[in-house]
Amino acid sequence: MRVGVFICHCGNNIAGTVDVAKVAAETRKLPGVVYATNYMYTCSEPGQEEIKQAIQKENLDRVVVAACSPRMHENTFRKTVEKAGLNRYFFEMANIREHISWIGEDKELNTNKAIEAVKMAVAKVMNDKPLYSSSFKVNKRVMVIGGGVAGMQAALDCADGGLDVVLVEKSPSIGGMMARLDKTFPTIDCSICILGPKMVDVAQHEKIKLYAYSEIEEIKGYVGNYQVKIRKKATYVDWTKCTGCGACMEKCPTRNAYDHFNFGVAPTRAINIPFPQAIPKKAKIDPTFCRQFTKGKCGVCAKICPTGAINYEMEDEIVTEDIGAIVVATGYGLFDLDKFPEYGAGRYPDVITGIQYERILNASGPTSGHILRPSDQTEPKTVVFVSCAGSRDKSLGVPYCSNFCCMYIAKQAILTKDHVPDSQSYVFYMDIRSPGKGYDEFTRRAQEDYGVKYIRGRVSRIYPKGKKMVVRGADTLLGTQVEIEADLVVLATAVISAPGAANMAEKLHISYDTFGFYVESHPKLRPVETNTSGVFLAGACQGPKDIPASVGQGSAAASKVLSLFSKDMLESDPAIAQVNINACVGCLKCVKTCPFQAIKEEVLRSGKKVAKVIETVCAGCGVCTSTCPCGAIQLQHFTDNQLLAEVNAICQS
């Protein structure tokens, strides 16, 4: 065996705290190693060229690169050795950067640890076997989960690219958060005017199949071949018959149903169409408020409906869709007022959230676009905005910035002045964060042209005094206490992960961070990919994001899907389980433990029962290998021998 080892300096990243020359010198003493060298940047073009030349010149048959994490560059170097004629699995990486040079301060200890890491990789590579991919067919249909602006953009781009798209939205209409906004910053463009036509495009696109008011029940399969079960939730209205005329909503006697679309600013009817531009524009009954469900009698809507669409007996329906890739665009959630006891915890009607104020400003909202405060429906003259209500507050579990609140507060303050010219707005802020194009100019405009008073400091308490709300806080620039008697207080509540985000991640087998936001494959270079191939991210499900960023990610995810689907066949990962039928005793414990049902029983011609791996279904976890009592089923590239060789390299030296 002729192993070549290449030790990377990574500039000073590794060489700064590891004596790379010594690592190379020690490596040359290892049995099997015929060539070892250190190089400034092994991943650079000349670095890779050096590997190829060494393979030819030194007749190497195995290669080890000691550099950064294999999660970073394993694929890069596998391609390099493949180009030089070696099987791509005759390659191992020793992670001497993330796991050694960046975390240890003592050069002697680091160098020794790096030598050991190389020793382990050499032991592993000497036990490696050549593996060959097989190819499988791709089902070129894509599913987009979430019909907000990011999901819609992804769906439209995929559909325009010729793909069949299945769009699943959990609420009764697509549009997401953007459909609720009145205007958008920094142009003060009308939100629904730019979103509405896009929603219509989605509805009318012959390539897009829309499941509104539906949720993902179960996801099975792998990239190219997923089977997804979708739960179509009961609307109690037959949408094939409903024309969206709204007669039912007008006549419904239950007038106190919670309005999810308006975030409870005003009540709605038990049967309702969420908003005038809804897509699909269909009615839906909320059984928690409907008298037919709570009291067992009413039936007004059934009587009034001109097409007989009402069906109180309707049940959830499960449908299955076969698809090849998934774009996740499930958006975000918002903190509730009950998180803020010092601000009244939702007890004061005139302390509201930013999104609620957005609905009050909106012409299709409950006040028809007239700014009227919730308590007495009068026009507020003094409005106080509180930024960072929950954001950047470790004690509330939200240490991060919610990204777009500074901007929407400036927008709402400008709109307040437009609606009520004799009003005065105040903004309590920690910092003004306005790094986007035209954003900083916009916040300045709010202050300079609209006379919005910005007070740098936190609000400690909000309490009622007569008809007013007293906002008490600090002005940290003047070093004084401030008290403002406000008519209306708007809290920019923190952006959090969407309700049920963790549950969804578990169905998708993707990772999520401490806060429930989905984790991308690489924070800089792979921002819309996940570690599960075939699953992509778009929008605020990955972290708080404004509209342009969400739209950008929607398009990016679509382009990733289109490039994935540009091939008819995909290559499978050959690092899957394999059964040695001579050693298998047919106990079939592996069949029971396999998380993917990828192993089945096979009867050989001799009549012997053995386990058989279904190659396309096996995901390569290796649970079967550690289950097998006789070592008959081995996960390729992570066999018992290969892993024990690494253990021995550490322990028996």
Partner: protein
């Protein structure tokens, strides 16, 4: 000698590729300083870790073994880490029967975003082992 005598102990870590190996990478990228004792073996899933690997390491020279996977319910392979948890918990209880202090073995869950938690896990476990001292002291003295 594979470890630097007096300063280090021999610690073997089995890390799943998707969460904990990524978490260790994240810790590295963030330059969260850690003791140098740990030697990391990458496995696809904590469910791939055969308890006998742990025993083999402890019997042949390791002073401690650490296994880390994805958080329960967040496994890249659906429920590989549940199998790991069951096996490793059993292993932990059996270790005293082969004369090994169960504190020399630790399993935990660290996600790819939890760099800081990884630092704490490594520091905590290494510290615990240093308090216990080397497992193979006699052998080392002879050698």
């Amino acid at each position: 000698m594979s470890v630097v005598a007096e300063k280090e102990l021999r610690v073997v870590g089995f890390l799943c590729n998707w969460c904990s190996y990524g978490g260790a990478d994240t810790a590295g990228v963030a330059r969260f300083k850690q003791p140098t004792d740990l030697r990391i073996i990458r496995v696809p899933c904590s469910g791939r870790v055969d308890p006998l690997f742990v025993v083999k390491a402890l019997l042949t020279g390791a002073d401690g073994v650490l296994v880390s996977g994805c958080h329960p319910r967040d496994c890249h392979y659906t429920d590989g880490n549940f199998y790991a948890r069951r096996r490793l918990e059993m292993l932990k209880r059996l270790l005293p029967f082969i004369g090994i202090d169960e504190r020399r073995f630790h399993y935990t869950w660290v996600s790819a975003s939890e760099g800081q938690k990884w630092q704490q896990v490594v520091a905590g476990f290494t510290n615990r082992l240093h308090q216990l001292g080397p497992l193979h002291a006699k052998k080392e003295n002879e050698g």
